[in-house]
């Protein structure tokens, strides 16, 4: 099996806290091909982050099988890098220091030769260039905007050439314009690196624009509701967001999320309340 392929077979995750039991993942079966870009969307509490954290090895499944490249996952591994929404950078290290952080870890420095060291230095430089961070290489994270910080987080994750990139709402805290720039950047990077990407978001437009497939999850219990193929060419452009295929898919997914979320606006009740307030 290619090293970037992910296989989930009947994954369950149950959180137990005292008397309460929450089924965060119910019987999740999902295959992701090597080099594929898959996005996970769904209402809050649908388990999309839990699924991603399980893939990362940060959560242990309660039942079921999880294999990456044909090997069962038992914990975090250098083949799977993760980008968090925020606060994951090390504020005491410069941008370069953050990107080269993995070089301090034994997991990355075993059997190292001078050629390896040189290649790593070149890799860090190339990533700085690629992510547009050359000018701020010596700055500390808290001197950067949110968008720039996420560029650093992505560069750091890519440093060890992971086969799989796991992204947990990485652009959730960014403004709309910065987000668009980051979308095209991450598409470019994933094509260049040929890595598998699993991307969690609550923004349906983002999910469709980035993903080859969109996996819709539903809450209580957290489960996979439906999977959509995105009917767009592999190379995405911002203008495609206005195409009929895009708009139709967006409408369908939004409708399904509304149906599964269990949240409803009771219009009748609102009307009654405003009438009472008026009289």
């Amino acid at each position: 099996m290619p090293p970037g392929a992910i296989v989930c077979r009947s994954l369950w995750k149950i959180f137990e806290a005292g008397p309460s039991r929450v089924t965060a993942l119910k019987d999740v079966t999902l295959n992701i091909a090597d080099g594929e870009f898959v996005t996970l969307v769904g209402a809050s509490g649908c388990g999309k982050s839990t699924l991603l954290r399980t893939l990362a090895g940060l959560e242990e499944p309660s039942a079921g099988e999880l294999e990456v490249g044909g090997i069962p996952v038992t914990g975090p591994g250098v083949d799977r890098a993760m980008v968090f929404q925020n606060y994951s950078l090390y504020p005491w290290l410069t941008v370069t220091g953050n990107i080269k952080f993995t070089r301090q870890l034994t997991a990355h420095t075993r059997d190292r030769t001078s050629a390896d060291v040189e290649r790593a230095a070149g890799r860090a430089d190339a990533l700085l260039e690629l992510m547009g961070l050359k000018a701020v290489a010596g700055a500390y994270p808290n001197q950067l905007s949110g968008g720039m910080q996420q560029r650093v987080a992505i560069a750091r994750a890519l440093m060890s050439r992971p086969r799989i990139l796991l992204m947990d709402e990485p652009f959730g805290a960014l403004d709309a314009q910065t987000r668009e720039v980051m979308h095209d950047l991450i598409l470019h990077v994933s094509e260049l690196e040929q890595s598998t990407v699993v991307f969690v978001t609550h923004d349906v437009e983002e999910a469709i624009y980035l993903g080859r497939r969109v996996v819709l999850m539903a809450p209580r219990p957290g489960r996979i509701d439906s999977v959509y193929e995105v009917p767009l060419p592999a190379r995405r452009e911002q203008a495609m967001k206005l195409s009929s295929g895009f708009v139709r898919l967006k409408a369908a997914i939004l409708k399904r999320i509304r149906e599964t979320s269990g949240l409803k606006t009771d219009l009748e009740l609102l009307q009654k309340l405003s009438q009472r307030a008026a009289s």
Binding site: L58, A81, M82, P91, W92, L105, A107, Q143, A157
Partner: protein, 278 residues
């Protein structure tokens, strides 16, 4: 006259920031003016009360009496020796407690099992009155320097452990998990993430507990001392030398302030990334 379009209107330059805006800003000059006022007003009130009031100087000696007392203390009664021995006791007791509290707090803040084992116990002990330990310390350690250092230790250690544990717990989980996904081992996470991340907070904890160590000095020098600032205060009490009591209290306050400022400077020097902006 109608101003040209785009020109700055006159009131733009004259408008001053509202002093009472919630969390509003004050200019540097105004800040120092207020700080000077805040420090000098009580001094002035003290002086006026002592000079024109009908207060017996045994109850309230004037600032000049106190200053004169510090002068004679320095000239005839070995003030510097008292300062030196008191500094030594405070720093030694505090260092001892830091040496044990740092690793212990790190463990409590990192592992829930260690927290369960030690935190309730520490919480219990820290409520015990340190002063009441004086006779016990004399009984267990004796009456030499060790006993005084031991008193400072008892006063600071238990608080320090809890604060260190809290500092360590405040390290964002995302920073730890990011290291885990990069393949860091447990030791590497503690060494390369938790410690550097908690360092600024730990230095603040050291600064605050240093302040507490100074407040325990008088208690420590209740233990069969014959030198030190705290001892001098206790002895002056016996002879009703109110001016010397005032002098001792003020000196301890001033030395404490100097230590505090030194810690703040060290903080700025050690963690440039916290102060780097823009």
């Amino acid at each position: 006259m109608i101003p040209a379009p785009g020109a700055e209107p006159a009131e733009l330059r004259d408008r001053r920031p509202n002093l009472w805006a919630i969390r509003g800003s004050v200019s540097q000059r105004r800040y120092w003016a207020l700080a000077t006022l805040g420090l000098s007003l009580p001094l002035l009130a003290w002086w006026a009360l002592a000079a024109f009031g009908t207060v017996n100087p045994v109850f309230l000696p004037g600032p000049l009496d106190v200053a004169r007392r510090i002068g004679t203390w320095f000239a005839d009664e070995e003030l510097m020796a008292d300062v030196r021995i008191s500094c030594y006791r405070v720093v030694a007791g505090w260092t001892l407690s830091a040496l044990i509290a740092m690793p212990l707090g790190l463990f409590i803040g990192t592992y829930r099992a260690v927290q369960a084992l030690l935190e309730p116990l520490t919480d219990f002990v820290r409520y015990m009155p340190a002063v009441a330990f004086v006779p016990l310390v004399m009984l267990w350690i004796g009456i030499d320097e060790g006993a005084k250092i031991g008193m400072i230790f008892i006063g600071t250690f238990f608080q320090m452990v809890l604060m260190v544990a809290e500092d360590v717990r405040r390290v964002p989980m995302q920073q730890i998990e990011a290291a885990q996904t990069m393949g860091a081992t447990r030791t590497e996470i503690v060494e390369k993430v938790i410690l550097p991340s908690a360092k600024p907070a730990l230095l603040d904890t050291l600064r605050i507990t240093m302040g507490w160590a100074w407040t325990y000095l008088v208690v420590a020098e209740l233990v069969a001392a014959n030198s030190g600032l705290g001892f001098a205060i206790v002895k002056a009490q016996r002879f009703l030398q109110t001016d010397k009591i005032f002098a001792g209290i003020l000196l301890i306050g001033l030395i404490g302030l100097a230590f505090d400022q030194a810690f703040r400077l060290a903080h700025r020097a050690a963690f440039p990334w916290l102060y780097a902006k823009g």
